[in-house]
Symmetry: C2
Subunit: 224 residues, 2 copies
DNA sequence: AAGCAAATTTAAGTATACTTAAATTATTTG
DNA sequence: CAAATAATTTAAGTATACTTAAATTTGCTT
């Protein structure tokens, strides 16, 4: 009923819809999944037939309840594997996502529950993404905003990197930007929406593309 | 180059050739892999083209060096996963083989090496199968024979169950026959080659089909 | 050694998940 | 608002890994 390929489409549709709120376009999916737009159109119809998504010709996909259930399950498997591979098997940052991407598709309910138990039911993965429980429920979390939307002259704590690419993660670690570190948003340029931040004792400029991927919670005001 | 399907064929060919020493027949593979004989014939040609096996029409398959290398790698991945799933994640006997069967195909060199290290380089899996190292070398092991070939009136230690089926494993555990237990081969019937054994304080009769799957090493003579 | 049964292959066809190229629909812009 | 351009779909074709049914080969039996 659901193959690896289909699962990849469903996860991409769910994730993009969560992030951007609108119908997920064929072009986006083709880029993300590295296939032609024609393939997306084809698969769109199949997934719609099987009730995982709604697919209107020329206007993209939206996830259904059934699709969401599968997507949350995949997210759960993916994120638990990530924690496991990093914390237990000591794979590093960059390897973890790619491995999890493969393992998530072939992991039975029993196995993933065993991993969950072994890890004492973690609530977040190594990027700060919340891990759905068996029922597909996310842990309750304080409100988070991306650095792009947060206010200047305020102190925050980084709680999530909303990106899995090894490249960006390496960039962050080179800059001393890591999960749960404090960050002070000193300024934002009108010109290109880039931001200036103080983190790990350094002042950095970050493009809005990057700020958009860093999620934070507010801390008490900084006293200078 | 090598898909999950192909890997399953190669593993089956390698394993059967090891066990029975002759060309592996299409009928055997069709049964083992749950596909038609026509499918085996098809795939046989493909695998031969790619250098994994030799395949002579009407006379079955033999593994090549290249195929053996891949098979040993698969065996390594499979067996390490089995140890990991049982010892670390506490899955039970029956579940372990099936899960490993899926995971082995999508496990990178790095991951399997991390698992190997985590487990402190185990030499045998939960069925007593030897685990090849990174180079495809088996650990040195004392000579083992199946109960079918061993001599009566001698004491042995069970060191391997050469079968992965849950059914047989359950049967053994019901009879109190477990890995590394002592077993005394009291008699063998000419009639059907079945054997009488004393194990776990009980006297049992075992069919030759079953005796064939139990591998033992000799212990010092039993003193009555 | 001929005939027969079993094993195997060939042939034709299916489903999945793609591809490229042409045709169609939607959207932007002057 | 029409034309251009961008996005998407349709059509035709490919590779993989199967299927069933018919034809062929092998090896056994007498």
């Amino acid at each position: 009923m659901s193959t690896i390929s289909k699962e990849d489409y469903i996860k991409a549709i769910y994730t993009d819809q969560q992030r951007n709120g609108k119908n997920v376009s064929a072009t986006y999916l083709a880029g993300k999944l590295n296939v032609s737009k024609a393939a997306v159109s084809d698969m769109g119809k199949k997934l719609a037939n099987q009730g995982f998504i709604k697919y209107e010709a020329y206007r993209g996909a939206t996830i259904t309840k059934k699709g969401e259930k599968l997507a949350l399950n995949l997210l759960r498997r993916h994120r638990l594997w990530e924690v496991f591979l990093m914390d237990v098997l000591k794979l590093d940052w960059g390897e973890v996502h790619e491995e999890a991407e493969k393992l998530e598709h072939l992991t039975s309910e029993k196995l993933i529950d065993a991993i969950d138990k072994y890890l004492h039911y973690p609530k977040f993965d190594p990027h700060g993404h919340p891990i759905p429980n068996k029922l597909g429920e996310f842990p309750h979390t304080p409100a988070v905003v991306s650095l792009k939307e947060s206010q200047i002259k305020k102190k925050y704590r980084i709680v999530r990197f909303d990106d899995e690419s090894f490249e960006l993660m390496k960039y962050f670690s080179r800059l001393g930007i890591s999960l749960y570190s404090e960050i002070y948003l000193s300024d934002r340029l009108e010109f290109d929406d880039s931001v200036f931040v103080e983190v790990a004792g350094r002042t950095q400029a970050l493009s809005s593309k990057i700020a958009e991927r860093i999620f934070v919670t507010e801390l008490e005001a900084k006293d200078d």
